[in-house]
């Protein structure tokens, strides 16, 4: 007994020692789960899969706005997950959102049914994205559009006269004073008929200076510049010291009119157009322009000043201003080398009038007096477009050698390179063309996907590849994308402030917010419907025996104003009439209008097209058209 007692006593310190040990261990290691959660997405200890994995309940760090090319749309992606979030129609109709069917978008679209959305550009404040608006241009039908980022919907589209295919756009000046639209194709003023033999004399590459009236969300053309009949490819606005200036690349300064592949590749050098937009604005103010079809047109050969030419290796594509605004980088797209040009040197040369003659009345600066350095990454071919990181390092896409090259604009030294699959056009880094790039993520917008994804037949998707640039560049994700992103913009997600429901607008004559106000007003052959959509019914005429029925006579002009009175997140209703080829969307709280002629007699069911509730299937009505007697 005594012995047993003793041994029991000996256990006590051992046990308590072990317990203390466990306790210490729990305190030190027990809570590691919450610590790992706090790590940022780009934490370097994560595997590639972990870097791109954004679990449910968390959201991406960046929005990627990728141009949709000849789809006429804008594709919205999340970075780093590379998940496709939304397709926003801009220049093409879209039945999914009723875009091009409702009155507002139908009017904006005019008679066009497609567009070629090339280069998106955010509105800027002090050279940084402010997250308020997105501008886009249509190379297919010469238009420009503005999208409100509160709703991700297009608010205005303008047609740009005298010009054809604003490929070289859009670029926005430091405080969104102007959105410049230089053109890809030169045409005679007014796109009039002129024989191609008169190309050099009668054709012009007109650039438009577009202003954005934020209060009325309207785009306007302030003035135009009748540049020489060349092709204008890409452009960038200056920053900081070069804020009043802009640069754009040209090709076909040969002024070839056929077989451009050969004939526009003859001269050793084309030009960068360097212009001071403040000076141009002043010239317009001083009346130095001619009125052409209602546009104020500057003719550089007559209205001198503000525009200069800088020789560059032939057929350049991108021209990009460094974040500090001191340099611009350009290169011939068939050449191996890139050139860093100095704004400061250019300003000095302009000041001292060191010109090497002129073209079409525009002074030419000497290449040597503007060039800062030439950069020649070994075996790299086809430099197209450059983005920047937070250290000011440059990332250039090489179309022909199919890679992204990182290099230092200050020394010209190649720092890193990574192959991409295949043939990148542009790339975009996080806020990579602003005065303060974030130095995170680079997305290569590849033109060729080949066998990257499951085959869908001969027509392949394009491919976007996410590159982690926090250390040595590495491709960590590839995603297929619809044709065809030409350029993209990547913005920090918290800069964009969206709304979830439209506020009541008591001033809107077309809106009704109470069921009791739903009515059908008949005036001769005009039928105006003030209706309501709500979970899960339509009410067009509250006093009718069947409030969800619209009855008209054949030939009536029908206008339906529909208000979604579900002021609730993500409760969007659709409105379609069978066989009448129309479908619109009403977002929560929104009032939308559709106009059409009841030109088909008969019975046509109405239904909600956007799944809204458990009884969505019951959200129907009838459109009855009485035949003419």
């Amino acid at each position: 007994m005594v012995k047993g007692c003793k041994s029991m006593k000996a256990w006590v310190p051992i046990t308590s020692g072990l317990l203390a040990g466990f306790l210490a261990a729990t305190i030190s290691f027990g809570n590691f789960s919450s610590r790992t959660e706090n790590k940022t997405v780009s934490g370097s200890t994560k595997s590639d899969a972990e870097k791109v994995y954004v679990p449910f309940g968390k959201q991406d760090e960046y929005y990627l706005f990728a141009s949709g090319g000849h789809s006429g749309q804008m594709f919205i992606y999340g970075v780093p997950s590379m998940r496709h979030i939304r397709t926003v129609p801009v220049f093409s109709p879209d039945s999914a959102t009723g875009y091009g069917f409702d009155e507002h978008s139908k009017k904006m679209m005019g008679d066009y049914t497609w567009g070629d959305l090339h280069h998106p550009a955010f509105s800027e404040t002090n050279g940084d994205y402010d997250g308020k608006y997105m501008f886009a241009t249509d190379v297919g039908n010469s238009r420009a559009a503005v999208m409100d980022l509160k709703t991700f919907t297009v608010k205005d589209i303008i047609n740009v006269p005298n010009t054809s295919g604003p490929h070289c756009a859009a670029f926005v000046t430091e405080n969104t004073e102007y959105l410049f639209l230089p053109t890809r194709f030169s045409v005679p003023l007014g796109s009039k008929y002129e024989p191609l033999d008169d190309y050099s004399k009668k054709y012009r590459g007109v650039m438009s200076a577009v202003t954005f009236d934020e209060k009325n969300t309207k785009l306007n053309i302030e003035y135009q510049v009748a540049l020489p009949p060349w092709s204008y490819d890409l452009s960038d606005a200056g920053k900081k010291v070069s804020a009043d200036w802009a640069v754009m690349t040209t090709y076909n300064t040969e002024e070839a009119t056929t077989n451009l592949e050969i004939n526009a590749s003859q001269a050793d050098r084309d030009y960068i157009v360097l212009f001071n937009w403040k000076e141009l604005a002043k010239m317009v103010k001083d009346g130095q322009y001619e009125e052409i079809d209602g546009q104020k047109m500057i003719f550089p050969e007559k209205h001198k000043g503000g525009i200069y030419l800088v020789p560059v290796a032939k057929s350049p594509h991108g021209v990009d201003v460094t974040p500090d605004g001191k340099y611009f980088i350009a290169s011939g797209k068939l050449a191996p080398a890139l050139t860093v040009f100095s704004f400061e040197k250019a300003f000095k040369a302009i000041e001292h009038k060191e010109f090497a003659g002129d073209r079409n009345g525009i002074p030419i600066l000497k290449y040597e007096s503007v060039m800062e350095r030439e950069v020649n990454p070994e075996n790299a071919l086809g430099p197209l477009h450059t983005q920047f990181d937070d250290q000011g390092m440059a990332y250039t896409t090489m179309f022909i050698s199919s890679e992204v090259v990182k290099w230092d604009p200050k020394t010209g030294k190649t720092l890193d390179r990574v192959p991409v699959q295949y043939s990148p056009g542009h790339s975009v880094s996080a806020e990579g063309d602003t005065v303060s790039p974030d130095g995170k993520w680079l997305v290569a917008l590849n033109k060729i996907a080949k066998d990257s994804y499951l085959s869908v037949g001969p027509s392949h998707p394009e491919s976007m590849q996410l590159i982690d640039i926090s250390g040595k560049m590495k491709v960590i994700q590839s995603v297929p994308v619809n044709p065809e992103p030409h350029y993209a913009q990547m913005i920090k997600a918290d800069k964009i402030k969206t709304i979830e429901v439209y506020e009541k607008d008591e001033k809107n004559q077309n809106a009704i917010y109470k069921q009791e106000q739903a009515k059908i007003v008949r005036n001769g052959n005009k039928v105006d419907v003030y209706g309501i959509a709500m979970r899960s019914k339509f009410i067009f005429d509250v006093k009718s025996k069947r409030p969800d029925v619209i009855e008209v006579n054949e030939g009536d002009e029908v206008t339906i104003h529909l208000t979604n009175i579900d002021f609730d997140e993500d409760i969007t209703h659709g409105f379609a009439i069978n066989s009448y080829n129309l479908n619109i969307e009403v977002q929560p709280g929104q009032t939308n209008t559709v106009k059409f002629k009841a030109d088909k007699a008969g019975t046509f069911p109405i239904y909600c097209t956007n799944f809204c509730s458990a009884l969505h299937q019951e959200m129907t009505g009838y459109f009855l058209v009485k035949p003419k007697q």
Binding site: D566, D568, A614, L615, E618
Partner: protein
């Protein structure tokens, strides 16, 4: 018999004044809340009841309630909201009077009034909940057993779990009532 024993001490008087202030303050805070959670509404929908107004996602809750045939409610369906602040102010006035007169008898009367008012309030709320929960439209698309939502606690209807809870205003009322009880103990008769 000591006459002073029928009077309240000055400390008690101050406590009663505080009680009156809390009563008035409670008007500006929610008295009662219902929070609705559903898989589609993880953030919750609220009905927040102040003595003089309703707040929260009333229209959305009404919109959803129509599926089970529950009548719409609004500030108009609760006339109480128009006079409740005056009743509370009246109580506060009587409380102040009690603090000034410092008579125990008045305090006893006041406490009785509080109990009566509280009971009436609970009865009124239960009546309203019964009214809405038991009179479901027979043509509702989703047929459910009529029910009485609890004044406090959890209830499940279809995909919604409803939590009924007291608001800060109600807690202020409770504190105000407890403050009235303190003088009873503090100024109790001692031998």
């Amino acid at each position: 018999m000591n006459v002073r024993n029928k009077d309240l001490s000055s400390t008690s008087s101050i406590i009663i004044v505080v009680s009156a202030i809390l009563l008035v303050v409670s008007i500006f805070f929610p008295w009662w809340k219902m929070i609705f959670f559903a898989p589609q509404y993880p953030e919750g929908l609220n009905i927040i009841v102040y003595p003089y107004k309703l707040e929260g996602e009333i229209d959305i809750v009404n919109g959803l309630n129509h599926y089970i045939g529950m009548a719409n409610f609004s500030e108009k369906t609760f006339p109480e909201l128009t006079y409740l602040p005056y009743i509370v102010s009246g109580y506060a006035f009587l409380t102040i009077i009690t603090a000034i007169l410092r008579k125990k008898l008045f305090l006893y009367g006041l406490i009785c009034l509080y109990v009566l008012g509280g009971a009436l309030g609970v009865w009124d709320l239960r009546k309203a909940l019964r009214q809405f929960g038991m009179n479901l439209s027979p043509t509702a698309p989703i047929k459910i057993e009529p029910f009485i939502p609890p004044i406090i606690g959890e209830n499940t209807v279809a995909n919604f779990v409803t939590n009924s809870v007291l608001g800060l205003g109600a807690y202020l009322l409770i504190v105000a009532f407890i403050l009235l009880l303190i003088p009873l103990w503090k100024d109790r008769k001692t031998k």
